[in-house]
């Protein structure tokens, strides 16, 4: 697709990467600690809050932030907006990394991780009533699909490799991937549609223990909408980050129209949620003194902030304002998901949860590892390309 994509080149161990590797190192220690001591000793999880930071953030929010690949694919392949295709590869990369690390998060979170292999294999035991099973199988499949979609970026580089095996692999696999691309990309659109909506269905099983401010049969739709909005926001954020970090010309115009596309989604989510609360007769709960009402107000505010920011045409031409709007969008979706999984869930008065240091370090470490992997890969493989109508700017290797 992105024939003009080029490796950024340059040295990997910049000062920023050194800091990231320190955080990732602490995360690795925290992971070792969790594996050696067990969940009880290292996390704040308990029988009232069996899902904590790792599920609510690393998996539920992390995979939504990794929906850039999905969101851009809708734009480029379903709506046929080919001019956005330079955004496809970087979006796929953040998606592949995000989903892979969410998988690491799951493996650390489950208590009996050495049996996880049974989930995709033991099909004769599959419980088709289990929303979690569908989510798990979809996420596994989608992670594989993402790396296959991204494979040409690696193969294109290996085509000129000194290693014979890599060259052979590239020659065989590249045309095959090109021929099958429609079916692979369609799978890459179908699977997130399925599991991102099902992540919303997941908490509906808590039923009476889910607070009425969030308990609506429309949770699957709201989760799907928010993951698409978050996906676009991440692409804006990531693209601005790449132009800053690698001193490339920012694709402000393209990002502006991309951010503009999110405005109707964000606005729709707010209107829809208020209408749904009114329909279910729960609108009054918004004005209760419960801290949960405050959380919903915070969500709605964050959803509307980018709408307000981007309403001013001047802001759409300003990269800084675009990034601020993107951060607000990511924050809105993240807070919404966090609330559904942690704040809305009420197991009873004598349970409380706040993530432990180990949990926080693991989450931060995984994030740092993700950013490091991104930097490493875009420096060595053809992921980023100059925007259309713009000479691909090569960084002067210093």
């Amino acid at each position: 697709m992105s024939a003009q994509a080029q490796p950024v080149g340059g040295s990997f161990f910049s000062p920023g990467v050194r800091i990231l590797s320190g955080i990732a190192g602490l995360g690795a220690l925290a992971i070792a600690w969790r594996l050696l001591r067990g969940l009880g000793a290292t996390t704040a999880l308990n029988d009232g809050y069996p899902f904590g930071l790792w599920i609510a953030f690393d998996v539920v929010t992390g995979t939504a932030l990794a929906c850039g690949g999905y969101a851009v694919a809708i734009l480029v392949y379903v709506l046929n907006r080919g001019r956005y295709s330079p955004l496809v590869r970087p979006a796929l990369l953040t998606s592949a990394l995000g989903y892979s690390l969410a998988g690491v998060g799951v493996a650390l979170d489950v208590g009996r991780w050495w049996l996880l292999w049974k989930v995709p294999i033991y099909f004769w035991h599959w419980n088709f009533n289990s929303v979690l099973l569908e989510v798990a199988l979809c996420i596994i499949a989608y992670t594989v699909v993402l790396w296959i979609e991204l494979a040409p970026a690696f193969l294109e580089r290996w085509r000129d490799s000194q290693v014979r095996l890599q060259r052979r692999l590239a020659v065989v696999a590249l045309p095959a991937l090109e021929r099958g691309s429609v079916w692979i990309i369609a799978l890459g659109l179908l699977l997130p549609t399925m599991h991102q909506s099902s992540l919303g269905t997941l908490m509906l099983l808590a039923d009476s223990r889910l607070h009425p401010l969030w308990r609506t049969p429309w949770l699957p739709l709201l989760f799907l909408l928010t993951c698409v909005a978050m996906g676009y926001a991440v692409v804006v954020f990531e693209s601005a980050f790449a132009s800053l970090a690698f001193k490339r010309r920012p694709e402000t115009a393209m990002l502006a129209s991309l951010a503009g596309a999110i405005v109707p989604i964000q606005g729709f989510v707010v209107v829809f949620r208020l209408a749904d609360l009114a329909w279910r007769g729960s609108l009054g709960l918004l004005f209760s003194s419960d801290v949960r009402a405050l959380m919903v107000w915070a969500e709605l505010g964050l959803f509307l902030l980018p709408v307000a920011l981007l309403a001013q045409p001047a802001n759409r031409r300003d990269l800084g304002a675009l990034v601020r709007a993107a951060i607000a969008m990511m924050g809105a979706g993240a807070l919404y998901r966090f609330d559904v999984f942690l704040v809305a869930f009420s197991p009873g008065t004598h349970y409380a949860y706040f993530p432990s240091l180990t949990e926080l370090l693991v989450t931060l470490g995984l994030l740092a590892a993700e950013v490091m992997a991104y930097i490493f890969i875009v420096r060595r493989f053809p992921i980023l390309s100059g925007g259309p109508g713009m000479a691909p700017e090569r960084q002067t290797a210093s």
Partner: protein, 293 residues
Amino acid sequence: MAISRRAALKGLLVGGAAAAGVAGAPDPGGAVARPVPPADAVGLLYDATLCIGCKACVGACQEANDLPRDPTGLGPQYNAPIDLSQRAKTVIKLYDDGEVSSFFKAQCMHCVDPACTTACMLGALKKREFGVVTYEPDLCVGCRYCEIACPFNVPKFEWAKMAPKIVKCELCKQRLAVGREPACTEVCPRQAVIFGTRSDLLQEARRRIAAAPGRYVPKVFGETDGGGTQCLYLSHVPFDKVGLPTLGDRPAPELARSIQHGLYRGFVAPVALYGALAIVMMRHRKPSATADS
């Protein structure tokens, strides 16, 4: 220049057709066929008016199920579980507000339509013989979704262990298998908790209410609550005061399940969406590979 709002929404519509369309179809809760108790369903009947709070059932349960002693409630001198935990599959609680008081027994309710078995990916938790919800650790990855799902807060997790399992009352399945009743009913000195088939217990509960008007809240908890449970309760104190949730007649997993099954019935929607996506892309591809519309 900019993507039009209409185009963005159209994209969402195509992308989310399945989810939006089918989830939106009003799901008539009443029309869904609800599971009924299995023919061989057994359970417990606990009568709070008879219980003297001796907690013999708690100790007997720990012994019968090889559970460790539980000093977490009152300190190392006492084996006194204060709530269901990895060390206690049943506990006796007390409700006392100065005017009325009642002991209360907690254990798995063995729902007719359990949320935990709906949640469980590989069926580690499943209604097996006698409708008892039992646990197969070989099929459990320790995800704890059952703990999220259970409206009674019953499944517990062995947080301290390196190979943790889910802990919950399995109605002494090892004793049922050899024709013995559960440890808690066998040991109860007042027969406050008795064992039997669900239909017998239901009949007995109704008989007690009819025989002593005014003695009980005129309702058998578990007859229909949350779609019905195999463990039934009689009480002189309102059920919500003694820690039983107000559930209505609808099974707890019904909403999530009807949405999930609505979306994925026969896997038609995903396959149709997949085909539609592939067709759309092939049509885009034909004239020229990178043409912008």
